[in-house]
Symmetry: C2
Subunit: 189 residues, 2 copies
DNA sequence: TAGCTTGCTGACCGTTGCTCAGCAAGCCGA
DNA sequence: TCGGCTTGCTGAGCAACGGTCAGCAAGCTA
């Protein structure tokens, strides 16, 4: 600890600060995360943080984007699998994710969604990307109606899984199957 | 204007402050609403606001609750109608509501959802109440599984309608019918 | 050694949430 | 009319926060 280098390269320091934000995110609503606290944890002055991030918003956006990237990577379809198995696989990974992180996940999703417009924007981007990736993974036609339904289905899934984790009202397999069935019914029309 | 009474009764003043908050809510994310601004609009000192509301949180909660009450009242089932017409009526009113308020509604819903735990709590209460009222209005059995599905359906509806208002991807009637059909399918099981 | 780049800090500023002692408006009994 | 009570209301002031800025100093090179 005491032997840690006092001076880091710009890239290292930036990464460290974002990492600290990611650590704090599960326990702290995004906007209650103070610059003071982050700087204290990093063992640096507030001023240095402002050297790397133009503003608090800028820092939050970076942290939120990093969190979103982790989730996206986790949910990404596994190449090589047939289209009809992708949905089940992604759903399974999603439920597993929420099971693992519970409140942390909710805090992230909801916290990102509202809070402030700039963070909401990152969240929006992520959703859009997930819709994109799912549409191609499931190999269904791409039109506005389907996109909207898919997005709404994500909202449904997000909400249902959050509730289910807290109070399982059906078997896990049943939950996944229900969501998968709903998805195909909505998209096949 | 100049003739307005300088001293109001406690109840009047409280109501006035909440009303100002409600006015500001559509254009301002909940937490960007500063005490200074509210006090300025009310023509009083900041200190007085803290006399009526123990803290900023307390004030926000009161405002959010007031907003939620307006929405709840608007969506409430019309007594006397048969159960199977209630869903269509409530959905119609909901879509109309979102059509009218658009971003304001989104700002409220999302803004309330995240932001801060205490406001989220009010939002949670409101959702719970809507689930309750809908279950009885539709006259379906009340169990955990149905409650969770209904809540998730609300999330779906909220999201889909928000998107649809921005970019109508189907006829209005079709939208309402899709939502109503999904609801009955989910609850009848 | 001098000189450069650059990671880094301390002191400072305006704003915001919040406190507190106390003023004063309006109603009372005398 | 006067004193006294309640209570709506204010101004000064504090601590914490986001953000700025001049300048120190670590580490490389010549």
């Amino acid at each position: 600890m005491a032997g840690a280098p006092r001076r880091r390269s710009a890239g290292d320091r930036r990464a460290q600060l974002v990492a600290i934000g990611l650590e704090l995110l599960p326990t702290t609503p995004v906007q209650e995360l103070t610059i003071d606290e982050v700087a204290r944890r990093a063992g640096i002055s507030r001023s240095l943080l402002f050297h790397y991030f133009a503003s608090k918003r800028d820092y939050y956006t970076a942290v939120t984007r990093a969190a979103a990237d982790v989730l996206r990577e986790h949910l990404a379809p596994r190449p090589g699998l047939p289209a009809d198995e992708q949905a089940a696989g992604m759903l399974d990974r999603y439920v597993g994710w929420v099971e693992t992180y519970r409140d942390a996940h909710l805090a992230f999703v909801r916290g990102a969604a509202a809070g402030d417009p700039w963070v909401a924007e990152v969240y929006e981007e992520t959703r859009e990307a997930l819709v994109e990736v799912t549409l191609t993974a499931l190999d269904v036609p791409d039109d506005t109606r389907r996109r909207q339904l898919l997005r709404a289905w994500f909202a449904f899934t997000e909400d249902l899984v959050s509730q289910w984790v807290r109070e399982p009202s059906m078997a896990r397999a049943e939950l996944v199957e229900l969501l998968r069935g709903l998805l195909t019914r909505l998209l096949d029309d």
